[in-house]
Amino acid sequence: MTALTSELAARAASLSFADLNSAARDWAGRAFADTVACAIAGAGDDMVRRFESILPASAGSSALLGRGGQMHELDAAQLNGIAAHALDFDDCNLEMDGHPSVSIVPALLALGDRIDCSGADLLTAYVAGVETEIRIARISNPAHADRGWHPTVTFGVIGAAVAVSRLLQLSPGKMAVAMGIAASCAAGLRANSGTMTKPLHAGQANRNGLQAALLAQAGFTATSSVLEHKFGFMTAFSGGVPADPTPALAGWSEDFALLSPGIAIKQYPCCAFIHCAIDAAVELHAQIGDTTILDIDVALHGRRLKNIDRPHPRDGLDAKFSTQYLTARALLTGTIGFADFENAALADPATQKLSAKVGLSTHDRQDLSFGRVTVVLADGRTLSAEASVAMGRGPDNPMSPGQFKSKFMDCVHRVLPAERAETLFEAMTGIWEQPSVRQLTRLMQPGAVSSRSPDPVSFSAANSR
């Protein structure tokens, strides 16, 4: 049997910035920036406050994104991880069947802030983590996701461990150990989607992935064959070790998983499975005008329906997974934005009335990402629109630079002053040229930039720890 864990670690540990072609570099940078924007947008979320209330004060040097203050890297990674997933607006990946960046970026920033590495180091580590987790997912799904694991975190915790190990420049052997420790921390059930517990998952993955790498660095041991072991990750989580691990091991530094099928950036702040229906509904909105809608059918792939059939969303969180509500809302308003998850929108009588007319059905296409919305109108017309949205806007159908910037600004503008937001966007756009992560994270916090400037002596003291 292939020593899958060690083989993956060997590839991830040796990945260098020079291995990234410009497309991979640019797209990784966009996904990284998008995750930061989501973390800043989520920083004020109620979940983050509740979590913070149980933490002891700690003297750390890792910034809390979108708010003032620092914590030590484990608490900062966890808190920022919760914030980054609080709005479920972060990027997606089809092979993972989940969110590739949210379990990695907060952990990397938290450590990067302490050791004050360069943007290029950070981005290289990010790519190492993302490529590894997606490739593990590639040979684990659909069995893994279909069982009910929350792949964002069950793969993500291993991705985080690999990314942080790469940033710490651990040997392949220690990286494999970090993967072993992380796999023993892998947790998270789809059953808790649509509740406050889902963002908690992301916090856990960041903390535990980072902790796994720090422990491996300190000489802690674990099995170094955790993926393929007979009592290991693949068997326990997916029901078996695939006979052919080639798809996980081939094409490193050539066929980047983050480019094909790629990381998709979410345009709407809700579950990506529903984006095809929203796009179709937006298209129909223009054609319907003021005509009364009698009946609505939304056809989606059968494997997707389990999680998103929620006719009566309880609250804004639940609404992110309600095909009925979101399709009705998009038919009515022609778009979906943050405001649609506030109580006023949920309680809107016209939306509720229309939402009750939505029926769900399954289509028989191969395309998981395909959806069709059909409306029957009072004037006798039946209109139909289709869309295939692979969990957001990926490298094949990217948002324009303007659209992307507009999402970024929407996310950060409530927290950051306009000028800071501009500076941050510019800096993130060329993150690999940034000499100092610490300079960068200052831009991710409100308040005076000079408010957190420990002198250079304590910088190096922190670095040598």
């Binding site: 892998a186 059930l189 059953a191 802690f220």
Partner: protein, 452 residues
């Protein structure tokens, strides 16, 4: 129906005032034993490593044996890891794992923070064990066979519920703590045999407390987190491999702590030989009056399943000594105790122990129902014969109660790695009256002030 809610309903319905005093005694013993194991684990590299070079901020909760105080979650994490570092802590038959090392670290940290009494701590612990073992009855033993580490993946529910009880959460909040725990449960068997196994304990202890603290702040999980098609039962065990009725039936009728109960491991070697060691120590303290030199022949009778080849071998190294019946029985007869130091390299060449080890013959008995019992038959140089039999190792459960002096001997052996001699005895005395202690902080203050 929400299964989390049904379980929470049963938690709330348990009334500690009705608990049998025998349950309190077992709780005291198990907690004392777990604290001893943590004081043993505190000075290890494993505990050093998880402290991550003083990364954590200071807090109100003691890291046992280390004179440091951290926040609740961090203290629970480090104490849970240290408590399981040597794998010497108690086990539950229903859980198929180690219950106390997951439940107590969070509970102790919480009790310190809230100024809870010893009685509150003990009661919450008993409820936590009851909840975790009832839950386990519905998923074992398929759960273990699927590759999960039940100490962590099932223990977390006990930790979350015990912490919820100490915080007096209501039924709805307890249900949330259970649902959140379902999403935090982790630990796979491929990491057995590495320090990542005790790490599982620390993480589960931390996360159980974490789930309860979040539930206390009205964070919710899905009400169907357990029984949902993508919930804990289907995901971890799979269809057909669990039984919800068994989870819900007969809570506290009687308490799981009283039947089948918790087993306390008294000797730092393979469990198969513990019955034979009990018999050897009884003979040492009884008819031999501490003198082994008159022994001329030794016959040990045990169930054939306990007499596997690696158990029959005499000790030749510190590692195989832990599996050697002749070595452990010889130690029991010669020293009247089997201690951690006996498994250090330099202890293997004691001439009298080597002589006695050479006299031991082993024979399977034919009573299939007697699977952990043992009988020793000694012939002395004057031709007389001494016999002692035990039906099961002492402390294996309520049917074979654990004499306090044996529990004390183990505690002393473990705790002296971290505490002064005076501290060891003071702390043990407090643990034996834990349920009457006005404040749990009295215990941790005593531990801290006598830490070496």
């Amino acid at each position: 129906m929400s299964l989390s809610r049904e379980l929470a309903k049963r938690v709330v319905a348990l009334d500690p005032r009705g608990f049998d005093s025998e349950a309190t005694k077992w709780a005291r013993d198990a907690i004392a034993d777990m604290i001893g194991c943590t004081l043993l684990g505190a000075p290890t590299e494993t505990a050093d490593a998880v402290l991550l070079r003083d990364l954590y901020g200071a807090g109100a909760c003691l890291v046992l044996g280390r004179r440091e105080r951290l926040g609740m979650l961090d203290a629970a994490f480090v104490n849970g890891t240290a408590g399981h570092a040597l794998d010497y802590d108690d086990t539950s038959k229903s859980l198929s794992g180690h219950p106390t090392v997951i439940i107590i670290p969070g509970l102790l940290a919480l009790a310190e923070t809230r100024g809870a009494s010893g009685r509150e701590l003990v009661d919450a612990y008993i409820v936590g064990v009851e909840a975790a073992t009832r839950f386990a009855r519905g998923v074992n033993f398929q759960h273990y066979e699927k590759g999960w580490h039940p100490t962590a993946t099932l223990g977390i529910f006990g930790a979350a519920i015990a912490a919820s009880v100490l915080m007096r959460l209501d039924e709805e909040q307890i249900a949330s703590a259970i649902s959140i725990s379902a999403s935090l449960a982790s630990g796979i068997k491929s990491n057995f045999g590495t320090p990542t196994k005790p790490l599982h304990a620390g993480i589960a202890a931390r996360n159980g407390l974490f789930a309860a603290l979040m539930a206390a702040r009205n964070v919710k999980g899905s009400s169907m987190a357990l029984e949902h098609p993508q919930g804990f039962l289907e995901v971890f065990n799979g269809a057909g491999n669990y039984n919800i009725d068994r989870m819900l039936a007969a809570w506290a009728e009687p308490l799981d702590m009283l039947s089948p109960g918790i087993s306390i491991k008294k000797y730092p070697c393979v469990y198969s030989v513990h019955g034979a060691i009990d018999a050897a120590i009884a003979l040492h303290q009884g008819s031999l009056a501490g003198d082994s030199t008159a022994i001329a022949d030794i016959l040990v009778r045990m169930h054939p399943r306990r007499l596997l080849p690696h158990v029959r071998n005499p000790a030749t190294s510190a590692l195989n000594a832990k599996f050697s019946l002749p070595y452990s029985v010889a130690r029991g007869l010669v020293n009247g105790a089997v201690l951690l130091d006996h498994f250090e390299d330099q202890a293997l060449h004691d001439p009298e122990v080597t002589r006695v080890m050479g006299l031991i013959r082993m024979e399977p008995h034919d009573d299939d129902a007697n699977d952990y019992g043992a009988e020793l038959v000694l012939t002395l140089t004057d031709g007389s014969e001494l016999r002692h039999a035990v039906a099961a190792p002492l402390g294996r459960g309520p049917e074979t109660p654990l004499p306090q002096d044996i529990l004390r001997a183990k505690f002393v052996d473990c705790a002296r790695r971290s505490l002064t001699d005076e501290g060891v005895h003071q702390v043990f005395a407090m643990l034996m009256t834990l349920d009457t202690l006005p404040r749990a902080t009295d215990l941790t203050a005593a531990i801290q002030s006598t830490t070496l």
